[in-house]
């Protein structure tokens, strides 16, 4: 029981810190005249792109013993998860109806407008985003394991690994089931009254940045300090420890096949996650099938150990060898594990589309399917692209579920990096980490280019 409450407390702390700083950064980078704000946005997004254990590795190289504590875990996990509330809030602030803020600006300062109007307006969505961070932290294995902090996910893994006991993993899953149910009920009750259409029509934008005046140097220094100390330095430590270019060549030689595989699996998996997410979001919105939301969040929160056991028991038979012994099993596991991200992202944007957009298509003779294809989907294309690339990033850095299910000879880059960390020279491990960053950054660049094209 103590372990249970300790784990909840840890996840709540991580959620609080990530959301607090995530919102501050989002406001600074979206609404103000802060210098180099786009660069800062990119820097603080970087930890999201890496397998969490690599971020933990970078911090441990830099901060020695101190990092192996409750505060260390909170720090590392917060750095890893800040990008989620930061990017989510950034998008919300970008699309909010500016007239709400403009009408309040007549009465008070920008700080007052943010505090009394903007943040309260987006608070239901912030709650959704916070719940994602909470669940990610709750189910995290690699960081807490690396930093030697015991949580009940670690316990579940140890019970499974050391004692071959499945029962305790199932019991712990029931606990997570209860937490997820409580969270969703609270969210449904709280958000029900607050889901108003507060956003401008998609595609219509205007800008009115806050002039920071006397505060711009202090805020710039503050953000620069945070970016340097908690993102740039740990990652730079990895680069520095790789020493020479020849190490990169040696490292690449070890992992070239798995890089290729990782991109394929993540690419295909992200597509199906986005597709599945859209289908779920659509049914949740149009038919109120909240049970779908519940299950998608539950599978997201469940420890990968449990999901792995379920998949092995379901698919490890003669008749299903074509699934189990191939990458299909990993793709299926990814869809089950990560659909919640896509579902929630698409749902929140789908909710913002005026009902009249659909209705006007229907009265013009379009069937429901035609309306979805020609009206709904094109209006959500940016959301789909964002969902695709977010899913891609999560999949390419996944180790927990992949490790349990990949078939021999089909390991992904993230898994191979994890296994090579044992007894490979430090320079090679550092070089591999840097290669991992590059592998993930390339699709991000592709995303920016595609956005411009579409």
């Amino acid at each position: 029981m103590t372990l249970f409450f300790d784990t909840i407390f840890l996840s709540l702390s991580v959620t609080f810190v990530s959301v607090f700083f995530g919102v501050i950064f989002a406001v600074l980078f979206e609404k103000t005249t802060l210098a180099f704000k786009n660069t800062f946005l990119l820097i603080f997004t970087l930890p999201l792109l890496l397998p969490p254990y690599i971020v933990a590795l970078g911090f441990s190289e830099l901060f020695s013993e101190w990092i192996f504590s409750f505060f260390g875990v909170v720090l590392v996990e917060s750095i890893i998860y800040i990008p989620i509330p930061m990017l989510g809030t950034f998008l919300l602030l970008k699309n909010i109806n500016k007239s709400f803020e403009d009408s309040a600006k007549i009465f008070c300062s920008w700080f007052c407008v943010l505090r009394k109007i903007t943040i309260p307006l987006i608070s239901p969505y912030l709650f959704l985003i916070s719940s994602i961070v909470f669940l990610l932290s709750l189910g995290n294995y690699s960081v807490v394991n690396f930093l030697r902090y015991k949580t009940f996910v670690i316990q579940s893994f140890v019970e499974f690994s050391a004692f071959y006991e499945y029962k305790s993993a199932y019991v712990l899953s029931i606990l997570i089931f209860l937490i997820v149910a409580t969270l969703l009920l609270f969210e449904k009750y709280y958000a029900k009254k607050n889901y108003a259409s507060i956003f401008e029509n998609i595609g219509f934008k205007n800008k009115n940045p806050i002039d920071l005046k006397n505060y711009k140097y202090i805020l710039f220094s503050f953000v620069l300090f945070l970016a340097s100390a908690f993102v740039i330095l740990p990652i730079f430590t990895l680069v520095f420890n790789s020493h020479s270019f020849s190490n990169y060549l040696k490292a690449y030689d070890l992992v070239s096949n798995s890089i290729y595989r990782s991109i394929i699996y993540a690419g295909i998996g992200a597509f199906f996650i986005t597709l599945f997410g859209f289908i779920l979001a659509f049914y949740i919105k149009t038919k109120d099938y909240y049970i779908l939301d519940f299950f998608s969040v539950l599978f997201f929160a469940l420890p990968s150990t449990v999901l792995g056991i379920i998949f092995i028991k379901l698919f490890n038979h003669e008749w299903s060898s074509f699934i189990y012994s191939t990458p299909i099993i990993i793709i299926l596991a990814y869809i089950l594990k990560y659909s919640a991200i896509s579902t929630r992202l698409i749902f929140s944007n789908l909710s913002q589309l005026p009902q009249s957009f659909d209705d006007s298509a229907r009265v013009l003779g379009a069937s429901k399917f035609y309306t979805i294809l020609h009206i709904t989907i094109p209006l959500l294309k940016n959301t789909f692209l964002f969902s695709y690339f977010l899913a891609f990033v999560f999949l390419i850095r996944d180790t927990d579920i992949t490790m349990l299910l990949y078939s021999a000879g089909n390991e992904t880059f993230a898994v191979q990096l994890f296994t090579l960390m044992a007894n490979s020279p430090q320079e090679i491990v550092s070089a591999l980490c840097v290669i991992m960053i590059l592998v993930i950054l390339l699709p991000i660049l592709a995303w920016f280019i595609l956005r411009k094209i579409f």
């Binding site: 005026p354 209705d359 009265v363 013009l364 379009a366 294309k381």
Partner: protein, 210 residues
């Protein structure tokens, strides 16, 4: 043309319409006038087949289209035009693409579509606006595009839900003139919702106070 017989519509505990009946003659102009929350917009949605009814029956051209808890003929099959209050112009499509949407559904071929779009834009005084983006249009221009999109498919009935409410007096006056002349030209049955008395008196053959 439109026969509404003793319909009731309720949202949770609120009865929006109760034993409501209405008969609309073909080619006539009926204005639904009343305060907010009186069920005017709901009635339009029910006629269009976008909402069902809790009781009663609705006939269009003597065909039963809706009955208790059942939409017998779906919205896409009723061939009714609808101009929404927020106009619902799709921002990802330009003016021509918005207007030709209904024609595409009816599988009208490309050349005919281009011709019809050109024609209807002329009728609403927006010639040459085909490739404009919706975001580039003024309030009045958007209104005309919404009208054009509805008219181009030749519906027998057009429903309008406070389409001019956000326009200034001058534009409002100008556009209601245009609506009236288009109605006389195309001879569609018009069911129009407004809370503007002057608008109601100008457009209506019959005003229904709700």
């Amino acid at each position: 043309m439109i026969d509404i017989k003793n319909i009731t519509k309720q949202y949770t505990k609120n009865k929006i319409l109760e034993n409501f009946s209405l008969h609309v003659e073909q080619g006539s102009r009926v204005v639904l006038f009343g305060a907010s929350g009186s069920g005017k917009s709901t009635l339009l949605r029910i006629i269009a087949g976008l909402e069902n009814i809790d009781n009663g029956e609705i006939y269009i051209d003597a065909k039963l289209v809706s009955k208790k808890n059942e939409i017998i003929i779906q919205a896409d099959k009723r061939e009714i035009g609808f101009v929404f209050q927020d106009l619902a112009l799709w921002p990802h499509l330009n003016v021509a693409q918005n207007i030709e949407f209904g024609l595409k559904i009816k599988k009208v071929d490309k050349e005919d579509r281009v011709e019809k779009v050109k024609e209807i834009l002329k009728k609403v005084n927006l010639s040459g606006f085909e490739s404009r983006e919706i975001s580039q249009l003024s309030g009045g221009q958007k209104q005309r595009v919404a009208l054009a999109r509805t008219l181009v498919v030749n519906p027998k009935i057009i429903l309008m839900d406070e389409p001019l409410s956000s326009l200034d007096y001058e534009l409002n006056t100008q556009l209601r003139q245009e609506i009236l002349s288009l109605q006389k030209e195309f001879k569609f049955t018009l069911v129009y919702v407004t809370h503007n008395k002057e608008e109601a008196e100008f457009l209506a053959d019959n005003i229904l106070y709700m």
